[in-house]
């Protein structure tokens, strides 16, 4: 099956960085990957949506996903566009402080995580997205945690190298903060199947 994911939040929260790290990690794990962003809303404070699809075989997914089976919610703002496209039973990994503001969660598997608080504990409030990345990887088995760390480091520009350590701690803390049993992806299955 193909794992499809929306990452939704506000420009400046590192949404695109999370998506890119996940995609690069999947490449490291030998997967086929697609990464699409929403353009035009890139400035800080606007809507930011990333789309990631991961599969074991060449992908069939469209660059604009009509539907997805999982989401990371960093903000409840601009959620409508993403929420309306989630298949029933989707995994929604949400920042704990905004989770209550997400509508229509009764059909989905909601996992909340105080990502910003965990990131702050790990030394960087800005690394909340990295906490989510670690948590998502651990929850779904989409990518190896070490791959996620390496992928994050791979794309950090030279002038931001000082953030790598805090980001790595955030990824690992995120992974440790969830129980990896609710939503496992079977990449080898021909059709979508959630354990």
């Amino acid at each position: 099956m193909e794992l499809d994911l929306f990452i939704s939040g506000i420009g400046g929260q590192g949404i695109q960085l999370v998506g890119k790290s996940l995609a690069l990690a999947a490449i490291r794990d030998g997967r086929h990957v697609m990464l699409a962003g929403e353009y035009g809303g890139h400035m800080r404070g606007g809507s930011s949506v990333g789309t990631v699809v991961i599969g074991a075989r060449p992908l069939k997914a469209l660059p604009i996903l009509p539907h997805a089976g999982s989401a990371i919610a960093m903000s409840h703002l601009f959620w409508a566009r993403v929420g309306s496209r989630l298949r029933p039973g989707s995994l929604v990994l949400a920042e704990a402080t905004i989770a209550a503001d997400l509508p229509c969660m009764d059909k989905h598997i909601l996992v909340t995580l105080p990502a910003t608080a965990i990131a702050t504990e790990q030394g960087s409030r800005m690394a909340a997205g990295m906490v989510m990345l670690g948590a998502y990887a651990a929850l779904t088995g989409a990518v190896k945690i070490d791959s996620a760390v390496a992928a994050m480091a791979e794309q950090i520009p030279a002038y931001r190298r000082q953030h790598i350590d805090a980001n790595e701690r955030a990824i690992r803390a995120g992974a440790a903060a969830v129980t990896p049993l609710t939503y496992k992806v079977d990449f080898d299955a021909q059709e979508a199947r959630v354990a």
Partner: protein, 358 residues
């Protein structure tokens, strides 16, 4: 090559360089800008040159110069930028200089521009419209091959989805037939030989080696395009054998329609899809065959109706042809709009089917 994550622009540039591209001159214009940026970054590492031209007109003429020198050369932009290049694209067709023009389009309103052209003369432009990054990697190589094979300009028609969506790719190297030496290239060495070389739209040749002259030259060019049309039309189709409804779409639209048609087939609808891969030559014979026995032929394109003309020209009963696309941009006016969405496309196909049966 190991799998690498790239956006379409980067993958196209890598594939073009792999195919031997050594010269690119362009002018920034969204969403073709990234193509120029990658060219500027990568070409110098391959003994190539990328120039930030002063205008699209200057850029495409630079490419003509590099190509006249025997090198694989390209320029690129999107719709309005290509409008500025039309004179040079026609010139390349008429003086037989092989160049590739990358159109990373904002929309699908450049269908007429690509397939009819805005330049002067009896010429056509081979136009490749890949559906996604993987096909784009192939087309970026094929474009240069076809350009050299026929000594014609080739248009590569992408869009913002193609340019910016990132995918893992191994950049497979396309196996293509070998081409003859470019014995026409201007390398400067034949001066004083009495048989110096010439690239000239009027085809008059030189005193010692006269050409056919304009009328015969242009007739020969026109005949060449007829011959290309005979053999280079490409298409992809699915579920056409028993289809009552055939949906025709190109580029990204073709990929979306294929997706929707597969979904609808799974739900029991007798729907098929047909995607022209070359917009020119238009795969008319194949479309005629695919549409045989259909009750309706739906055309999905993000414009007010351009490819639909070619569809009507090629299905046996043009009254079966109906547009289900339309003009659709995002808020910025620079990108494909909300019509490019699987759900919307399915609704429109279903409406066309149910509306017709009512």
């Amino acid at each position: 090559m190991p799998m690498r994550l790239m956006d379409g622009s980067e993958a196209i540039v890598e594939a073009a360089i792999m195919a031997g591209l050594r010269f690119y001159a362009g002018y920034p214009m969204s969403p073709a800008t990234e193509l120029l940026e990658y060219m500027a970054e990568k070409l110098p590492h391959h003994d190539g040159v990328c120039i930030n031209a002063a205008t699209e007109i200057e850029g495409v003429n630079m490419a003509l110069g590099a190509a006249a020198g025997g090198f694989r050369a390209a320029s690129g932009s999107c719709g309005q930028g290509l409008a500025l290049m039309q004179e040079a694209i026609a010139e390349a067709a008429l003086n037989e200089t092989p160049i590739v023009i990358f159109n990373m389009a904002r929309n699908q309103q450049d269908y007429f521009q690509a397939t009819r052209g805005g330049g002067w003369g009896d010429y056509r432009t081979i136009t490749l419209a890949p559906k996604d990054l993987h096909e784009a990697v192939e087309h970026a190589q094929l474009a240069f091959h076809l350009a050299d094979k026929y000594r014609v300009p080739v248009i590569f028609m992408g869009d913002n989805l193609l340019a910016r969506t990132q995918m893992g790719t191994e950049l497979p190297d396309l196996e293509l037939e070998p081409l003859p030496e470019k014995d026409w290239q201007l390398d400067g060495t034949s001066g004083g030989s009495g048989m110096s070389r010439q690239i000239w739209t009027f085809g008059c040749g030189k005193t010692n080696n006269p050409g056919p002259g304009p009328s015969l030259h242009w007739e020969r060019i026109a005949t060449k395009f007829d011959a290309i049309a005979e053999v280079e039309a490409r298409h992809e189709q699915g579920f056409v054998e028993d289809a009552e409804t055939l949906v025709v779409a190109f580029g990204s639209g073709g990929k979306f329609v294929e997706h929707v048609v597969r979904e609808m087939r799974a739900d029991g609808h007798k729907v098929g899809y047909f995607r022209p891969i070359t917009l020119w030559p238009f795969p008319g014979d194949a479309l005629e065959a695919a549409s045989h026995g259909c009750k309706r032929v739906l055309v999905f394109e993000l414009n007010a109706g351009q490819m639909i003309d070619d569809v009507k020209l090629n299905v046996l009963d043009r009254k079966l042809v109906k547009a289900i696309g339309g003009v659709s941009f995002d808020e910025s006016g620079l990108n494909l709009g909300p019509l490019m969405d699987a759900g919307v496309i399915r609704e429109r196909i279903e409406l066309a089917i149910n509306g017709a049966s009512k």
